[in-house]
Symmetry: C2
Subunit: 760 residues, 2 copies
Amino acid sequence: MNDYSVIGKRMPRVDSRAKVTGEAKYTADLKFPRMLVGKVLRSPLPHARILHIDTTRARRLPGVKAVVTGEDTTGEKWGVFRYTRDQQFLPTDKVRYLGEEVAAVAAVDEDTALEALELIKVDYEELPAVFDPLEAMAPDAPRIHEDFPQNINIHVAIHVGDVEEGFAKSYYVREDTFRAPEESYFQGEPYAVVARFDLEGNLEIWMPNAGPHMKAKPLSNALKIPLHKVHVRKITIGGAFGGRSEISPADFICALLAQKTRRPVKIVYSREENTIATRQGHAMITTIKTGVDRQGRVIARDVTCFMDGGAYSSTGPIATSVPFLCMEQAYRMENVRYNGYRIYTNKPVRGMIRVHGRAFACGVDTQLDMIAEQLGIDPVEIRLRNAREAGDYTNTRSYVTSCAMKETIRRAAERAGWKEKWGKLPPYRGIGIGCNSVQTGFPMGIRGGSQAFIKFNEDGGATVISGVVDNGQGNDNMLVQIAAEELGLRPEDIQLVTADTEVTPLDPGAYSQVSTFIGGQAVKLAAQDARRKLLEIASEALEAHVDDLVARDRMIFVKGSPQKAIPIKKVVRMGLARGKSVSGEGAYWPKVDPKREWVTNPFGQMCEAFSFGTTIAEVEVDPETGKVKVLQVVAAQDVGFALNPLVLEGQFQGAVAMGGQGGMLTEYHFWDQGRVMNPTQLEYKLPLAPDMPPIETIIVESHDPNGPYGAKEAGMSIAMSAAQAYSAAVSNAIGVYMKEFPITPDKILQALRSKREDKE
Amino acid sequence: MNDYSVIGKRMPRVDSRAKVTGEAKYTADLKFPRMLVGKVLRSPLPHARILHIDTTRARRLPGVKAVVTGEDTTGEKWGVFRYTRDQQFLPTDKVRYLGEEVAAVAAVDEDTALEALELIKVDYEELPAVFDPLEAMAPDAPRIHEDFPQNINIHVAIHVGDVEEGFAKSYYVREDTFRAPEESYFQGEPYAVVARFDLEGNLEIWMPNAGPHMKAKPLSNALKIPLHKVHVRKITIGGAFGGRSEISPADFICALLAQKTRRPVKIVYSREENTIATRQGHAMITTIKTGVDRQGRVIARDVTCFMDGGAYSSTGPIATSVPFLCMEQAYRMENVRYNGYRIYTNKPVRGMIRVHGRAFACGVDTQLDMIAEQLGIDPVEIRLRNAREAGDYTNTRSYVTSCAMKETIRRAAERAGWKEKWGKLPPYRGIGIGCNSVQTGFPMGIRGGSQAFIKFNEDGGATVISGVVDNGQGNDNMLVQIAAEELGLRPEDIQLVTADTEVTPLDPGAYSQVSTFIGGQAVKLAAQDARRKLLEIASEALEAHVDDLVARDRMIFVKGSPQKAIPIKKVVRMGLARGKSVSGEGAYWPKVDPKREWVTNPFGQMCEAFSFGTTIAEVEVDPETGKVKVLQVVAAQDVGFALNPLVLEGQFQGAVAMGGQGGMLTEYHFWDQGRVMNPTQLEYKLPLAPDMPPIETIIVESHDPNGPYGAKEAGMSIAMSAAQAYSAAVSNAIGVYMKEFPITPDKILQALRSKREDKE
């Protein structure tokens, strides 16, 4: 049992009220005097050479203040990595997907801006396009980027041990191929940017972001203005899910329009634009060959994955690696080989998504179930036999400090009544299990750490200055809880100043589950620094040694003598009266192997902690309609330590919605020659609250030695394991192992039909 | 010779460009969506009981969103000190001066707001009023505040040594009385406030201020909202001169209207309102009795001063003390007695002003000239004989660490050609000298110190986070210079985040000349802290000991081996790559006697440093018109060390304009029964640039051991000594010692007439 006052409690989030009342201001809500409306002209072709852009008529339209094209830029290409610089924010040579930015206008109102777009005349030379990654690799396929033969954008090759020898030694070997198409993020808030310059050339910019510093650096590079003049401001953010981690062409274009017009400019994406012109999740084709011993333990695994990356690199090196890494974290394998290919196609750009790699993870688990059936092993048992344990090294040599994977499996199985149900359910009822693991942060160059300042105010409250961003997951609340805990204050005593590149120090951003582990730790250290100074002042007044003092509930107590106490407010003021202000500073940089690199050297410690999750789903399939009804979901995750169980439960529930209910049953895109036919919520079916099944959440605490209070990532391992569990449960219900996702009614009916035909 | 790179240089101010281009945004320039216009209804009577306020018709006017009166407040009284709580921001019982706030409205536009004011009906019971401080002290005078008999608001009584014994021992004793009326500040920017609340009850507020934290605390108290919810924001400020140091009723009213309407509200004062409803300088009647020995050294001095404080206390205890303190700092006296009375009258509220105490300081110096004449001593010589020196204690027991008063006298006299001119000028030409001293900061309770954070950004630049406010004097530039110097950067590498009570740590505010000494010192310490961390990283790379490294011009060098160097940007990035972010923290609290109090215990160290200034003016008087032409001004000040000579010269010039040219020759108010008849620039004659004489500035550097780089206050001792020099020069020109200020043409003609009559 811990003795914490604030953390570990079911605390309603500090941002709830503002969001519920509508008080919270999102980027699209911002208004400034003389603000212009920015609109983007998009390519109507999936692949074409830009011959000429005539903006004369658009410029002449009254109310139009600026028109920009690639000619207004340096033409430089941008990339997340030095070796992935392939994207112009306003292309000068070619367009590579239908919807790509070609020009933009800033005008006094939306109607004028839209009218101006129609007056821009672009002459294209249409080029042959390719939409399928396998076709794109053919020798005669259209070349999308000159320097990339066969359109291979990224190739990650890993071989640890000897896979061929492993297969030779195996008792049973099988190979299967799994497929999943792209999917969309559908953040609650469509993308929006507001930018304005002052006459000193300082840029103020607001946009949904997964880290203000991640936006500032590329903007500084692209706009050729010093980094310290790029001020990415704090704003409420309506979701990211991996899709707000990079600079967007909209950021650059909006800033460029503001620079040209010397007026504030706002760009708000329509729902259609958010779908096609932010990011999508990668489509994937994964072939998995697995060899096991008699007990079902994996001796060798060989995975080849082709990912449809769309037109540009984005976070390609990461995206190409992560599905493999999640697998090697979750399950032990003696020998493993991985070949991941990210292929350019003439489709929208693909990035990281909360459930990145459905065809990979669901494939691994589906095949494990097939192997288990073959060997007569219970699916739960085969997972326990292969599950990762603390003290292990992963195949790519990351040490696993804490791991309660087996406990999540056991507790989820027990809660779901696995023993009572497996093999005993009535026809068309099924139960399935999935296990997964995700990273708690991985390094992104020198911006991998976080720093925080804390200042005590004269009213006894404290202000936290941190670069951590909250894009919906509750990071603001996390910071408040940690600071209040360490400083002995109540949550309402903590003021946050966060996510502003001018004011707040460096922070890696809220990607890859780092915020609590890295940013939270920096705040914890800063708070401890401030508390030490507070206790030093109090020790005089209380005539007690600093080490014997405790700060709690706005008071400083002498341990063991609770009557000897003094209010923190008084101590702060005593300090001020003596010329001592109470403040603190802290920084946390994760201890990882700096030589590890995604493509060139994928070996060494990649992050400090891993989380592990198991989801079990029980479903009922209607054999007439192919519809799936989810009866129950049990989600168990090793989160290290639950800083706020209420927030974690919300994360678990959202993860089941996104990974399982939506990602595995209803969400997919229709395409026509590179055009998304269902870009809005009307036809891209996101699960709504009434669609959701009952979800039981199990929080498992392994107390990671490196995490703040033992905490590590929370919620993400549920998102993917939910997909795996849903897939397994449907397969179990219909008696067919499904290999293409999502498992929509038509696929179920087709599977049932094939099964019947096979029998006949 | 010093070896500084940035400080000590004639650096154009960082805010110049924004101000010249109009880019700088003042409070009145702020615009927010749905912002309302606030207007204040003011008392048409100087003294009256409020019987009833009927706001019904005003409330009914379409477009009016709120009307507030004293009934919407708690009725509590506010004061700068615990014992001066006498002012309600919206009075419930009485109005005490013509122009006092009675009610206010917020409406959709200015016309509607003004119309609404006319619809508010106030029933007053007019009370007898008193406008003269001596009349106000009469037993039968109207009582303005119930608890203050004889309308004595503040009485400061100091007696050091034995004055009566001193006079008895004196060779020559004389007593004179000097008078000066109120004066106005006429800041370039009239007062304005913008306030808005969010639904969480956080108040954002902008206004010209001499310290955001000085505004936040009383607003928190008055509005009954926690201090940490009051966010006073940074904004460009067009002058303070002592008149923006307190909460204004406008701040409270604007916040109250914003709270009621849940919309942003802006109040912009007219020039008339700025004159009557912000602050004015005190009118003063000073009787000085001085006894000297044969050499003109002061053996005893007894001063009684009556100050017209207007309707409320404001900074009364300070205002009542400061003229005496300036005198005891400037000149030695064996025995001294002071009785300062601040008297309530039915006139606008009086506060501290840059040239507070003309009738006092000019009186002391005029009398010194009279004594010198009597004893046959040169005015320069008598000042040298009485001048303060380093190592002295003042009569009220402040130790004077650095003092170059004598050097300022000698150098000014030499530059002005005193020897060649004194007693040798043609008729109606005159030369005069004045000496003064001011405090470099004095404590204001626990808010007396400053704290700063510094963070290095990944581009090698640094951000300074400090509560220091710039209200026109160049504080922003000062912070940039100090940070750049200490960090080895260029001024353009420094980003400022200042003067915001949410983000920045505590700072006393830019009153009493503290900013460089206290806030600058905090930034210096923070920068040194950051530099130490920088050098530690560099020492590894350069294979040199930290103590052998120097940061300069964006590089870190090994002392003596300039070829061994590394760019600071690289060091910052090396740090980040190793998990070390470079930042710093610093705090400076002045070492003063905490037991010293203005009224109850005016003894002990009051501040850490004093500055000393001498001004010499040469004038020509037209005996026909009484007009004064100023031929030359020489201003010399001991500033400790000149951080930026360019800024100092500007301060000296402004000081001569305000203290001498305006304050001593043209600026005064006409009154009619408590009504200011000349509230605007049309009739209140401020000197303009073409009115100004040639000014020679002499910067004397005494290198104060406590000051940053030896610096202390700069510019203020010129403001008052200029008044003294102007007065002395005119007296010298016309052969009559003037005792009433300002010395307007009518007074000069009257003096010449009396002189002729005396002769006849």
